[in-house]
Protein backbone atom coordinates (compact mmCIF):
# COMPACT_ATOMS: atom_id res chain seq x y z
CA UNK A 1 0.00 0.00 0.00
CA UNK A 2 1.41 3.40 -0.89
CA UNK A 3 1.70 6.35 1.46
CA UNK A 4 -1.43 8.13 0.21
CA UNK A 5 -3.56 4.98 0.56
CA UNK A 6 -2.31 4.46 4.09
CA UNK A 7 -3.21 8.01 5.04
CA UNK A 8 -6.60 7.70 3.41
CA UNK A 9 -7.21 4.47 5.33
CA UNK A 10 -6.24 6.14 8.60
CA UNK A 11 -8.70 8.97 7.97
CA UNK A 12 -11.50 6.62 6.87
CA UNK A 13 -11.02 4.26 9.80
CA UNK A 14 -10.59 6.89 12.50
CA UNK A 15 -12.84 9.72 11.42
CA UNK A 16 -15.36 8.33 8.95
CA UNK A 17 -16.05 5.06 10.75
CA UNK A 18 -15.02 3.04 7.73
CA UNK A 19 -17.31 4.86 5.28
CA UNK A 20 -15.08 6.46 2.62
CA UNK A 21 -18.04 7.69 0.56
CA UNK A 22 -17.30 11.14 -0.85
CA UNK A 23 -13.72 11.41 0.46
CA UNK A 24 -11.45 12.47 -2.39
CA UNK A 25 -7.72 13.18 -2.26
CA UNK A 26 -8.53 16.90 -2.18
CA UNK A 27 -11.49 16.93 0.25
CA UNK A 28 -10.81 19.57 2.90
CA UNK A 29 -10.81 17.84 6.29
CA UNK A 30 -12.05 20.91 8.13
CA UNK A 31 -14.41 22.54 5.63
CA UNK A 32 -16.13 19.25 4.95
CA UNK A 33 -16.37 18.41 8.63
CA UNK A 34 -14.31 15.22 8.33
CA UNK A 35 -11.79 15.94 11.10
CA UNK A 36 -11.96 18.34 14.05
CA UNK A 37 -9.11 19.83 16.05
CA UNK A 38 -8.76 16.71 18.22
CA UNK A 39 -8.59 14.67 15.04
CA UNK A 40 -5.78 16.77 13.64
CA UNK A 41 -3.77 16.02 16.78
CA UNK A 42 -4.47 12.30 16.30
CA UNK A 43 -3.46 12.52 12.65
CA UNK A 44 -0.21 14.30 13.49
CA UNK A 45 0.58 11.77 16.22
CA UNK A 46 -0.01 9.00 13.69
CA UNK A 47 2.30 10.60 11.10
CA UNK A 48 5.05 11.01 13.66
CA UNK A 49 4.82 7.45 14.84
CA UNK A 50 4.16 5.65 11.56
CA UNK A 51 6.59 7.57 9.35
CA UNK A 52 9.08 8.68 11.99
CA UNK A 53 8.88 12.31 10.94
CA UNK A 54 8.91 15.27 13.30
CA UNK A 55 6.04 17.74 12.89
CA UNK A 56 6.82 21.17 14.34
CA UNK A 57 4.08 23.35 15.88
CA UNK A 58 4.70 25.92 13.13
CA UNK A 59 3.80 23.32 10.53
CA UNK A 60 0.23 22.89 11.81
CA UNK A 61 -1.31 24.78 8.89
CA UNK A 62 -3.94 23.73 6.35
CA UNK A 63 -1.41 23.84 3.49
CA UNK A 64 0.36 20.86 5.06
CA UNK A 65 -2.49 18.86 6.54
CA UNK A 66 -5.95 19.70 5.20
CA UNK A 67 -6.46 16.83 2.71
CA UNK A 68 -5.20 13.34 2.00
CA UNK A 69 -3.10 14.71 -0.88
CA UNK A 70 -1.60 17.50 1.23
CA UNK A 71 -0.70 15.14 4.06
CA UNK A 72 0.91 12.71 1.62
CA UNK A 73 2.93 15.52 0.00
CA UNK A 74 3.91 16.83 3.42
CA UNK A 75 5.18 13.46 4.61
CA UNK A 76 6.96 12.80 1.31
CA UNK A 77 8.62 16.21 1.58
CA UNK A 78 9.72 15.45 5.13
CA UNK A 79 11.21 12.14 4.11
CA UNK A 80 13.08 13.64 1.19
CA UNK A 81 14.29 16.58 3.28
CA UNK A 82 12.50 19.22 1.19
CA UNK A 83 11.41 22.36 3.08
CA UNK A 84 7.74 22.34 4.12
CA UNK A 85 5.28 25.21 4.36
CA UNK A 86 5.53 26.91 7.71
CA UNK A 87 8.86 25.33 8.56
CA UNK A 88 10.72 28.63 8.67
CA UNK A 89 8.95 29.18 11.98
Amino acid sequence: MNLKDEIRNFVVENFLFGDAGGLTDDSSFIREGIVDSTGILQLVAYLQERYQVAVADEELIPENLDSVQRVADFVEGKRSGAPCAGSEG
Partner: protein, 514 residues
Amino acid sequence: MELQMVHRFLESSAATRPDKVALVHDGERVTYRQLNRSASRLAGFLVQRGVLPGDRIAILLSNGVKYVASYYGVLKAGAVAVPLNVETGQATLGRLLDELQPAGIILEQGAGHLLQQLHQAPPSVRFLVAVDASFTRSEPRLVWGWEEALMAEELTEGTGRLSPEALASIIYTSGSTGKPKGVMLSHRNIVSNTRSITQYLCLTENDIQMVVLPFFYVMGKSLLNTHISVGGTVVINNNFAYTASVIRQMAEEGVTGFSGVPSTYAYLLHRSPLASFRDRLPSLRYCTQAGGHMPREIKERLLQVLPPHTKLFIMYGATEAAARLTYVEPERLQEKLGSIGRAIPGVTVRVLDAQGEELSDGECGELVASGPNIMIGYWNDPEATARVLDGNGYHTGDLGYRDADGYLYVTGRKDHLLKVGGHRIDPQEIEEVLMSSGSLLEVVVLGLDDPLLGKKLVALAVPLGGNPSDRTLLSFCHARLPRHKVPGEIRLVAALPKYPSGKIDRSSCLSLCG
Protein backbone atom coordinates in the same frame (compact mmCIF):
# COMPACT_ATOMS: atom_id res chain seq x y z
CA MET B 1 -31.60 58.35 23.02
CA GLU B 2 -29.37 55.40 23.71
CA LEU B 3 -29.27 52.79 21.04
CA GLN B 4 -31.60 49.95 21.95
CA MET B 5 -31.74 47.55 19.03
CA VAL B 6 -29.00 45.06 18.18
CA HIS B 7 -28.79 45.94 14.46
CA ARG B 8 -28.34 49.60 15.40
CA PHE B 9 -24.79 48.64 16.46
CA LEU B 10 -23.95 48.00 12.83
CA GLU B 11 -25.90 50.99 11.51
CA SER B 12 -24.28 53.34 13.98
CA SER B 13 -20.74 52.11 13.24
CA ALA B 14 -21.43 52.28 9.48
CA ALA B 15 -22.57 55.88 9.87
CA THR B 16 -19.54 57.00 11.84
CA ARG B 17 -16.82 54.82 10.23
CA PRO B 18 -18.09 53.74 6.81
CA ASP B 19 -14.66 52.86 5.41
CA LYS B 20 -13.32 51.07 8.44
CA VAL B 21 -12.76 47.32 7.97
CA ALA B 22 -15.43 45.47 9.92
CA LEU B 23 -14.64 41.89 8.89
CA VAL B 24 -11.62 39.99 7.64
CA HIS B 25 -12.18 36.47 6.33
CA ASP B 26 -10.11 34.34 3.97
CA GLY B 27 -8.42 37.31 2.35
CA GLU B 28 -11.68 39.26 2.04
CA ARG B 29 -11.85 42.63 3.85
CA VAL B 30 -15.31 44.11 4.25
CA THR B 31 -15.96 47.68 5.37
CA TYR B 32 -18.79 48.80 7.62
CA ARG B 33 -20.47 50.50 4.66
CA GLN B 34 -20.39 47.28 2.61
CA LEU B 35 -21.55 45.11 5.48
CA ASN B 36 -24.40 47.42 6.40
CA ARG B 37 -25.50 47.67 2.78
CA SER B 38 -25.59 43.87 2.38
CA ALA B 39 -27.56 43.53 5.61
CA SER B 40 -30.04 46.24 4.53
CA ARG B 41 -30.51 44.58 1.15
CA LEU B 42 -31.11 41.21 2.72
CA ALA B 43 -33.62 42.88 5.04
CA GLY B 44 -35.29 44.39 1.97
CA PHE B 45 -35.45 40.95 0.38
CA LEU B 46 -36.97 39.43 3.52
CA VAL B 47 -39.66 42.10 3.68
CA GLN B 48 -40.41 41.51 -0.03
CA ARG B 49 -40.89 37.84 0.80
CA GLY B 50 -43.52 38.84 3.32
CA VAL B 51 -41.44 38.34 6.44
CA LEU B 52 -43.13 40.01 9.41
CA PRO B 53 -41.81 41.12 12.79
CA GLY B 54 -41.43 38.09 15.03
CA ASP B 55 -41.05 35.62 12.14
CA ARG B 56 -38.17 33.24 12.67
CA ILE B 57 -35.42 32.97 10.06
CA ALA B 58 -33.07 30.02 10.51
CA ILE B 59 -29.43 30.71 9.63
CA LEU B 60 -27.42 27.62 8.75
CA LEU B 61 -24.11 29.22 7.82
CA SER B 62 -20.58 28.82 9.08
CA ASN B 63 -18.70 31.88 10.28
CA GLY B 64 -18.16 34.31 7.42
CA VAL B 65 -19.24 37.59 5.87
CA LYS B 66 -22.57 36.16 4.70
CA TYR B 67 -23.36 34.95 8.19
CA VAL B 68 -22.84 38.42 9.63
CA ALA B 69 -24.84 40.14 6.87
CA SER B 70 -27.63 37.61 7.39
CA TYR B 71 -27.69 38.02 11.16
CA TYR B 72 -28.01 41.81 11.04
CA GLY B 73 -30.27 41.68 7.96
CA VAL B 74 -32.77 39.46 9.74
CA LEU B 75 -32.78 41.80 12.74
CA LYS B 76 -33.22 44.87 10.54
CA ALA B 77 -36.31 43.22 9.04
CA GLY B 78 -37.72 42.89 12.55
CA ALA B 79 -37.48 39.12 12.35
CA VAL B 80 -35.85 36.70 14.79
CA ALA B 81 -32.38 35.36 13.96
CA VAL B 82 -32.08 31.66 14.73
CA PRO B 83 -28.51 30.56 14.04
CA LEU B 84 -28.13 26.79 13.95
CA ASN B 85 -25.09 24.57 13.77
CA VAL B 86 -24.40 23.78 10.10
CA GLU B 87 -23.55 20.23 11.11
CA THR B 88 -26.87 19.55 12.83
CA GLY B 89 -27.99 16.05 11.84
CA GLN B 90 -31.05 15.69 9.67
CA ALA B 91 -33.30 14.27 12.38
CA THR B 92 -32.48 17.00 14.92
CA LEU B 93 -32.73 19.69 12.28
CA GLY B 94 -36.17 18.43 11.31
CA ARG B 95 -37.28 18.58 14.93
CA LEU B 96 -35.86 22.08 15.46
CA LEU B 97 -37.51 23.40 12.29
CA ASP B 98 -40.80 21.86 13.38
CA GLU B 99 -40.74 23.65 16.69
CA LEU B 100 -39.45 26.92 15.21
CA GLN B 101 -41.84 27.05 12.23
CA PRO B 102 -39.47 29.47 10.46
CA ALA B 103 -40.63 31.69 7.59
CA GLY B 104 -37.35 31.16 5.77
CA ILE B 105 -33.97 29.50 5.91
CA ILE B 106 -30.59 30.88 4.85
CA LEU B 107 -28.19 28.02 4.28
CA GLU B 108 -24.91 26.99 2.72
CA GLN B 109 -23.81 23.92 0.84
CA GLY B 110 -22.73 22.09 3.98
CA ALA B 111 -26.36 22.11 5.05
CA GLY B 112 -27.32 21.01 1.53
CA HIS B 113 -29.14 17.89 2.68
CA LEU B 114 -31.90 20.29 3.56
CA LEU B 115 -32.18 21.36 -0.05
CA GLN B 116 -32.73 17.77 -1.06
CA GLN B 117 -35.29 17.29 1.66
CA LEU B 118 -37.37 20.36 0.98
CA HIS B 119 -40.55 18.39 1.19
CA GLN B 120 -39.70 17.68 4.82
CA ALA B 121 -39.39 21.36 5.75
CA PRO B 122 -42.39 22.61 7.73
CA PRO B 123 -45.09 24.36 5.66
CA SER B 124 -44.21 27.66 7.36
CA VAL B 125 -41.03 27.81 5.21
CA ARG B 126 -41.83 30.12 2.31
CA PHE B 127 -38.30 30.53 0.93
CA LEU B 128 -34.71 29.44 1.17
CA VAL B 129 -31.63 31.49 0.41
CA ALA B 130 -28.88 29.11 -0.73
CA VAL B 131 -25.78 31.24 -0.38
CA ASP B 132 -23.37 29.21 -2.47
CA ALA B 133 -25.47 26.73 -4.39
CA SER B 134 -26.02 26.78 -8.10
CA PHE B 135 -29.43 25.41 -8.92
CA THR B 136 -32.02 25.55 -11.58
CA ARG B 137 -34.85 27.94 -11.08
CA SER B 138 -37.99 26.10 -10.08
CA GLU B 139 -41.57 27.27 -9.88
CA PRO B 140 -43.24 28.09 -7.63
CA ARG B 141 -40.19 30.00 -6.59
CA LEU B 142 -38.80 28.67 -3.31
CA VAL B 143 -35.01 28.84 -3.54
CA TRP B 144 -33.01 32.03 -4.09
CA GLY B 145 -29.31 32.61 -4.50
CA TRP B 146 -27.39 35.04 -2.30
CA GLU B 147 -26.61 37.48 -5.12
CA GLU B 148 -30.22 37.43 -6.19
CA ALA B 149 -31.44 38.15 -2.69
CA LEU B 150 -29.01 41.05 -2.44
CA MET B 151 -30.46 42.64 -5.56
CA ALA B 152 -33.36 43.78 -3.43
CA GLU B 153 -33.58 47.44 -2.50
CA GLU B 154 -32.08 48.34 0.83
CA LEU B 155 -34.60 48.48 3.63
CA THR B 156 -34.60 52.02 4.95
CA GLU B 157 -33.10 52.20 8.42
CA GLY B 158 -35.61 52.65 11.17
CA THR B 159 -38.44 51.03 9.18
CA GLY B 160 -41.01 49.47 11.44
CA ARG B 161 -41.15 50.13 15.11
CA LEU B 162 -40.01 47.32 17.27
CA SER B 163 -39.86 47.45 21.01
CA PRO B 164 -36.48 46.74 22.66
CA GLU B 165 -38.36 43.97 24.44
CA ALA B 166 -39.04 42.25 21.10
CA LEU B 167 -37.50 38.86 20.49
CA ALA B 168 -34.21 39.25 18.58
CA SER B 169 -32.67 35.82 18.55
CA ILE B 170 -33.20 32.22 19.59
CA ILE B 171 -29.98 30.49 20.46
CA TYR B 172 -29.92 26.77 21.12
CA THR B 173 -28.01 25.47 24.12
CA SER B 174 -25.63 22.61 23.44
CA GLY B 175 -28.03 20.22 25.11
CA SER B 176 -25.58 18.93 27.68
CA THR B 177 -28.48 18.24 29.99
CA GLY B 178 -31.12 16.72 27.76
CA LYS B 179 -32.42 18.01 24.47
CA PRO B 180 -31.22 21.38 23.19
CA LYS B 181 -33.35 24.28 24.39
CA GLY B 182 -34.03 27.41 22.36
CA VAL B 183 -33.07 30.42 24.48
CA MET B 184 -35.15 33.48 23.60
CA LEU B 185 -33.15 36.70 23.81
CA SER B 186 -34.68 40.12 23.31
CA HIS B 187 -32.94 43.11 21.78
CA ARG B 188 -32.68 44.52 25.28
CA ASN B 189 -31.04 41.33 26.59
CA ILE B 190 -28.35 41.39 23.93
CA VAL B 191 -27.80 45.15 23.88
CA SER B 192 -27.40 45.41 27.65
CA ASN B 193 -24.97 42.50 27.79
CA THR B 194 -22.98 43.85 24.85
CA ARG B 195 -22.63 47.17 26.66
CA SER B 196 -21.46 45.57 29.90
CA ILE B 197 -18.83 43.52 28.09
CA THR B 198 -17.46 46.43 26.06
CA GLN B 199 -17.23 48.37 29.30
CA TYR B 200 -15.22 45.89 31.34
CA LEU B 201 -12.99 44.84 28.43
CA CYS B 202 -12.51 48.56 27.59
CA LEU B 203 -13.17 47.80 23.91
CA THR B 204 -12.67 50.59 21.39
CA GLU B 205 -12.64 50.96 17.62
CA ASN B 206 -8.96 50.03 17.72
CA ASP B 207 -9.74 46.52 18.86
CA ILE B 208 -9.27 43.63 16.47
CA GLN B 209 -10.75 40.34 17.60
CA MET B 210 -9.71 36.92 16.34
CA VAL B 211 -12.83 34.71 16.25
CA VAL B 212 -12.39 30.95 16.16
CA LEU B 213 -15.65 30.15 18.00
CA PRO B 214 -18.82 29.63 15.97
CA PHE B 215 -21.21 32.59 15.80
CA PHE B 216 -24.18 30.27 16.45
CA TYR B 217 -22.72 29.70 19.91
CA VAL B 218 -23.62 32.50 22.33
CA MET B 219 -20.00 33.45 23.05
CA GLY B 220 -19.27 33.78 19.32
CA LYS B 221 -22.36 35.97 18.93
CA SER B 222 -21.15 38.11 21.77
CA LEU B 223 -17.70 38.60 20.21
CA LEU B 224 -19.40 39.78 17.04
CA ASN B 225 -21.82 42.22 18.66
CA THR B 226 -19.29 43.75 21.03
CA HIS B 227 -16.81 44.51 18.26
CA ILE B 228 -19.40 45.75 15.78
CA SER B 229 -20.81 48.00 18.50
CA VAL B 230 -17.48 49.78 19.05
CA GLY B 231 -16.56 49.88 15.35
CA GLY B 232 -13.71 47.41 15.79
CA THR B 233 -12.62 44.65 13.43
CA VAL B 234 -13.49 40.96 13.57
CA VAL B 235 -11.03 38.51 12.01
CA ILE B 236 -12.75 35.22 11.24
CA ASN B 237 -10.59 32.09 11.12
CA ASN B 238 -12.40 28.78 10.73
CA ASN B 239 -9.18 26.75 10.83
CA PHE B 240 -8.53 26.53 14.56
CA ALA B 241 -7.54 22.89 14.13
CA TYR B 242 -4.45 24.25 12.38
CA THR B 243 -3.32 26.32 15.31
CA ALA B 244 -0.23 27.72 13.56
CA SER B 245 -2.42 29.37 10.91
CA VAL B 246 -4.42 31.11 13.64
CA ILE B 247 -1.41 32.33 15.63
CA ARG B 248 0.30 33.52 12.47
CA GLN B 249 -2.78 35.47 11.36
CA MET B 250 -3.02 37.03 14.82
CA ALA B 251 0.49 38.38 14.35
CA GLU B 252 -0.13 39.53 10.77
CA GLU B 253 -3.40 41.33 11.55
CA GLY B 254 -2.18 42.88 14.80
CA VAL B 255 -5.02 41.18 16.69
CA THR B 256 -5.74 42.77 20.08
CA GLY B 257 -8.09 40.14 21.53
CA PHE B 258 -8.47 36.38 21.43
CA SER B 259 -11.24 34.29 23.02
CA GLY B 260 -11.73 30.63 23.70
CA VAL B 261 -13.30 27.93 25.81
CA PRO B 262 -11.10 25.72 28.06
CA SER B 263 -10.30 23.23 25.30
CA THR B 264 -9.21 26.07 22.99
CA TYR B 265 -6.47 26.99 25.45
CA ALA B 266 -5.58 23.39 26.26
CA TYR B 267 -4.89 22.86 22.55
CA LEU B 268 -2.98 26.09 22.12
CA LEU B 269 -0.72 25.18 25.00
CA HIS B 270 -0.25 21.61 23.88
CA ARG B 271 0.26 22.00 20.16
CA SER B 272 0.73 25.49 18.76
CA PRO B 273 3.55 27.98 18.23
CA LEU B 274 2.00 30.34 20.82
CA ALA B 275 5.13 30.34 22.98
CA SER B 276 7.48 30.96 20.05
CA PHE B 277 5.26 33.85 18.88
CA ARG B 278 5.48 35.56 22.27
CA ASP B 279 7.55 38.38 20.81
CA ARG B 280 5.48 38.65 17.67
CA LEU B 281 2.16 39.52 19.28
CA PRO B 282 2.85 43.07 20.50
CA SER B 283 -0.79 44.13 19.94
CA LEU B 284 -2.41 41.26 21.82
CA ARG B 285 -3.99 43.24 24.63
CA TYR B 286 -6.03 40.46 26.22
CA CYS B 287 -7.37 36.92 26.02
CA THR B 288 -10.75 35.89 27.38
CA GLN B 289 -11.94 32.48 28.50
CA ALA B 290 -15.49 31.34 29.18
CA GLY B 291 -17.58 28.28 28.37
CA GLY B 292 -16.95 26.25 31.48
CA HIS B 293 -14.40 25.62 34.17
CA MET B 294 -10.78 25.79 33.04
CA PRO B 295 -8.41 23.82 35.25
CA ARG B 296 -6.02 25.87 37.38
CA GLU B 297 -3.04 24.15 35.79
CA ILE B 298 -4.02 25.47 32.33
CA LYS B 299 -4.54 29.00 33.66
CA GLU B 300 -1.10 28.97 35.25
CA ARG B 301 0.62 27.71 32.12
CA LEU B 302 -1.26 30.20 29.99
CA LEU B 303 -0.08 33.07 32.17
CA GLN B 304 3.49 31.88 31.65
CA VAL B 305 3.21 31.49 27.89
CA LEU B 306 1.21 34.59 26.92
CA PRO B 307 3.16 37.77 26.16
CA PRO B 308 3.76 39.75 29.38
CA HIS B 309 1.51 42.63 28.24
CA THR B 310 -1.46 40.30 27.50
CA LYS B 311 -4.16 40.28 30.17
CA LEU B 312 -6.15 37.12 30.83
CA PHE B 313 -9.86 37.56 31.60
CA ILE B 314 -11.52 34.51 33.16
CA MET B 315 -15.27 34.85 32.68
CA TYR B 316 -18.49 32.99 33.34
CA GLY B 317 -21.87 33.06 31.72
CA ALA B 318 -24.71 31.16 30.11
CA THR B 319 -26.70 31.24 26.91
CA GLU B 320 -29.65 32.18 29.13
CA ALA B 321 -27.76 35.32 30.17
CA ALA B 322 -27.11 36.48 26.58
CA ALA B 323 -23.56 35.32 27.28
CA ARG B 324 -21.91 37.00 30.21
CA LEU B 325 -22.52 37.07 33.98
CA THR B 326 -19.19 37.50 35.77
CA TYR B 327 -15.47 38.06 35.21
CA VAL B 328 -12.25 38.25 37.18
CA GLU B 329 -10.22 41.44 36.75
CA PRO B 330 -6.83 40.33 35.36
CA GLU B 331 -5.10 42.32 38.12
CA ARG B 332 -6.60 39.97 40.73
CA LEU B 333 -6.38 36.75 38.78
CA GLN B 334 -3.35 35.29 40.56
CA GLU B 335 -4.96 35.91 43.91
CA LYS B 336 -8.38 34.59 42.79
CA LEU B 337 -7.24 31.90 40.40
CA GLY B 338 -10.09 29.48 41.16
CA SER B 339 -12.78 32.14 41.01
CA ILE B 340 -15.25 33.14 38.28
CA GLY B 341 -15.03 36.71 39.61
CA ARG B 342 -17.79 39.17 40.33
CA ALA B 343 -20.90 40.18 38.43
CA ILE B 344 -20.43 42.34 35.35
CA PRO B 345 -21.90 45.87 35.30
CA GLY B 346 -25.71 45.85 35.60
CA VAL B 347 -25.94 42.21 36.68
CA THR B 348 -26.42 40.65 40.11
CA VAL B 349 -25.36 37.10 40.97
CA ARG B 350 -26.36 35.73 44.36
CA VAL B 351 -25.84 32.40 46.12
CA LEU B 352 -29.22 31.00 47.20
CA ASP B 353 -30.31 27.92 49.09
CA ALA B 354 -33.10 25.60 47.92
CA GLN B 355 -35.70 27.86 49.58
CA GLY B 356 -34.44 30.91 47.71
CA GLU B 357 -32.75 32.46 50.77
CA GLU B 358 -29.42 34.19 50.25
CA LEU B 359 -26.49 32.38 51.86
CA SER B 360 -23.59 33.86 53.79
CA ASP B 361 -20.03 34.07 52.51
CA GLY B 362 -18.47 30.64 52.18
CA GLU B 363 -21.77 28.76 52.20
CA CYS B 364 -22.50 26.65 49.16
CA GLY B 365 -25.71 27.05 47.17
CA GLU B 366 -26.97 27.72 43.66
CA LEU B 367 -25.80 30.76 41.66
CA VAL B 368 -28.86 32.81 40.68
CA ALA B 369 -28.53 35.77 38.35
CA SER B 370 -30.69 38.76 37.58
CA GLY B 371 -30.34 41.71 35.28
CA PRO B 372 -31.45 43.07 31.91
CA ASN B 373 -29.51 40.34 30.11
CA ILE B 374 -31.55 37.42 31.45
CA MET B 375 -33.51 35.63 28.71
CA ILE B 376 -37.25 35.89 28.13
CA GLY B 377 -37.53 32.10 28.41
CA TYR B 378 -37.17 28.92 26.37
CA TRP B 379 -38.90 28.77 23.01
CA ASN B 380 -42.16 26.81 23.21
CA ASP B 381 -41.23 25.34 26.55
CA PRO B 382 -42.98 27.10 29.45
CA GLU B 383 -42.30 24.20 31.80
CA ALA B 384 -38.53 24.31 31.29
CA THR B 385 -38.72 28.12 31.58
CA ALA B 386 -40.55 27.90 34.89
CA ARG B 387 -37.91 25.54 36.23
CA VAL B 388 -35.11 28.12 35.81
CA LEU B 389 -36.77 31.55 35.94
CA ASP B 390 -38.57 32.88 39.00
CA GLY B 391 -38.80 36.03 41.07
CA ASN B 392 -35.19 35.62 42.14
CA GLY B 393 -33.91 35.52 38.57
CA TYR B 394 -32.24 32.86 36.48
CA HIS B 395 -31.23 29.68 38.29
CA THR B 396 -27.97 28.73 36.61
CA GLY B 397 -27.84 25.16 37.89
CA ASP B 398 -24.28 25.88 38.98
CA LEU B 399 -23.32 25.31 42.59
CA GLY B 400 -20.86 27.54 44.33
CA TYR B 401 -20.09 30.09 47.02
CA ARG B 402 -18.91 33.65 47.51
CA ASP B 403 -15.75 34.57 49.41
CA ALA B 404 -15.35 37.46 51.84
CA ASP B 405 -14.22 39.76 49.02
CA GLY B 406 -17.39 39.06 47.04
CA TYR B 407 -15.71 36.75 44.51
CA LEU B 408 -17.75 33.81 43.32
CA TYR B 409 -16.57 30.23 42.93
CA VAL B 410 -18.30 27.45 41.00
CA THR B 411 -17.81 24.06 42.56
CA GLY B 412 -19.82 22.13 40.00
CA ARG B 413 -23.20 21.66 38.35
CA LYS B 414 -26.32 20.51 40.11
CA ASP B 415 -27.02 17.97 37.39
CA HIS B 416 -23.45 16.64 37.31
CA LEU B 417 -23.49 15.61 40.97
CA LEU B 418 -22.93 11.89 41.29
CA LYS B 419 -24.16 9.74 44.10
CA VAL B 420 -21.42 7.23 44.83
CA GLY B 421 -22.08 5.02 47.82
CA GLY B 422 -23.54 7.43 50.36
CA HIS B 423 -21.57 10.42 49.04
CA ARG B 424 -22.58 13.21 46.70
CA ILE B 425 -19.57 13.87 44.55
CA ASP B 426 -18.83 16.68 42.17
CA PRO B 427 -16.72 15.45 39.26
CA GLN B 428 -15.11 18.88 38.76
CA GLU B 429 -12.96 18.50 41.86
CA ILE B 430 -11.60 15.15 40.66
CA GLU B 431 -11.03 16.47 37.14
CA GLU B 432 -9.07 19.36 38.60
CA VAL B 433 -6.80 16.98 40.54
CA LEU B 434 -6.20 14.77 37.51
CA MET B 435 -5.32 17.79 35.35
CA SER B 436 -2.85 19.00 37.97
CA SER B 437 -0.78 15.87 37.24
CA GLY B 438 0.43 17.81 34.20
CA SER B 439 0.28 14.70 32.03
CA LEU B 440 -3.19 15.14 30.52
CA LEU B 441 -4.62 17.24 27.71
CA GLU B 442 -8.13 16.89 29.06
CA VAL B 443 -10.22 14.68 31.28
CA VAL B 444 -13.81 14.02 32.21
CA VAL B 445 -15.07 12.16 35.27
CA LEU B 446 -18.37 10.32 34.86
CA GLY B 447 -20.65 8.10 36.90
CA LEU B 448 -21.40 4.66 35.47
CA ASP B 449 -24.33 2.71 36.86
CA ASP B 450 -23.17 0.34 39.54
CA PRO B 451 -25.38 -2.17 41.37
CA LEU B 452 -23.45 -1.73 44.59
CA LEU B 453 -22.57 1.97 44.72
CA GLY B 454 -25.33 3.51 42.63
CA LYS B 455 -22.68 5.12 40.50
CA LYS B 456 -19.07 4.18 39.96
CA LEU B 457 -16.54 6.88 39.12
CA VAL B 458 -14.76 6.47 35.80
CA ALA B 459 -12.32 9.00 34.32
CA LEU B 460 -11.80 9.30 30.58
CA ALA B 461 -8.42 10.93 30.09
CA VAL B 462 -6.52 12.12 27.03
CA PRO B 463 -2.77 11.93 27.68
CA LEU B 464 -0.56 14.80 26.54
CA GLY B 465 2.05 12.51 25.09
CA GLY B 466 4.13 9.67 26.36
CA ASN B 467 1.63 7.43 28.05
CA PRO B 468 1.04 7.93 31.73
CA SER B 469 -0.17 4.65 33.17
CA ASP B 470 -3.59 4.59 34.77
CA ARG B 471 -1.89 3.27 37.91
CA THR B 472 0.35 6.34 38.14
CA LEU B 473 -2.66 8.60 37.74
CA LEU B 474 -4.67 6.66 40.31
CA SER B 475 -1.90 6.87 42.87
CA PHE B 476 -1.66 10.61 42.12
CA CYS B 477 -5.38 10.86 43.00
CA HIS B 478 -4.96 8.70 46.11
CA ALA B 479 -2.37 11.12 47.44
CA ARG B 480 -4.72 14.11 47.00
CA LEU B 481 -8.31 12.93 47.39
CA PRO B 482 -10.31 11.02 49.99
CA ARG B 483 -10.76 7.40 49.00
CA HIS B 484 -14.40 7.74 47.93
CA LYS B 485 -13.43 10.40 45.37
CA VAL B 486 -10.75 8.36 43.67
CA PRO B 487 -12.07 7.01 40.35
CA GLY B 488 -12.56 3.26 40.22
CA GLU B 489 -11.04 3.28 36.79
CA ILE B 490 -9.10 5.62 34.51
CA ARG B 491 -9.43 4.94 30.80
CA LEU B 492 -6.93 6.56 28.47
CA VAL B 493 -8.53 7.62 25.20
CA ALA B 494 -7.34 9.48 22.08
CA ALA B 495 -9.98 12.21 22.24
CA LEU B 496 -13.10 13.33 24.09
CA PRO B 497 -16.30 14.02 22.13
CA LYS B 498 -17.08 17.75 21.99
CA TYR B 499 -19.75 20.16 20.90
CA PRO B 500 -18.86 22.52 18.05
CA SER B 501 -18.19 25.22 20.66
CA GLY B 502 -15.34 23.07 21.97
CA LYS B 503 -17.14 22.17 25.19
CA ILE B 504 -16.91 18.55 26.28
CA ASP B 505 -20.02 16.52 25.43
CA ARG B 506 -20.54 14.53 28.63
CA SER B 507 -23.43 12.43 27.38
CA SER B 508 -21.40 11.23 24.37
CA CYS B 509 -18.50 10.53 26.72
CA LEU B 510 -20.86 8.40 28.77
CA SER B 511 -21.90 6.42 25.69
CA LEU B 512 -18.19 5.89 24.93
CA CYS B 513 -17.95 4.04 28.23
CA GLY B 514 -20.50 1.52 26.95
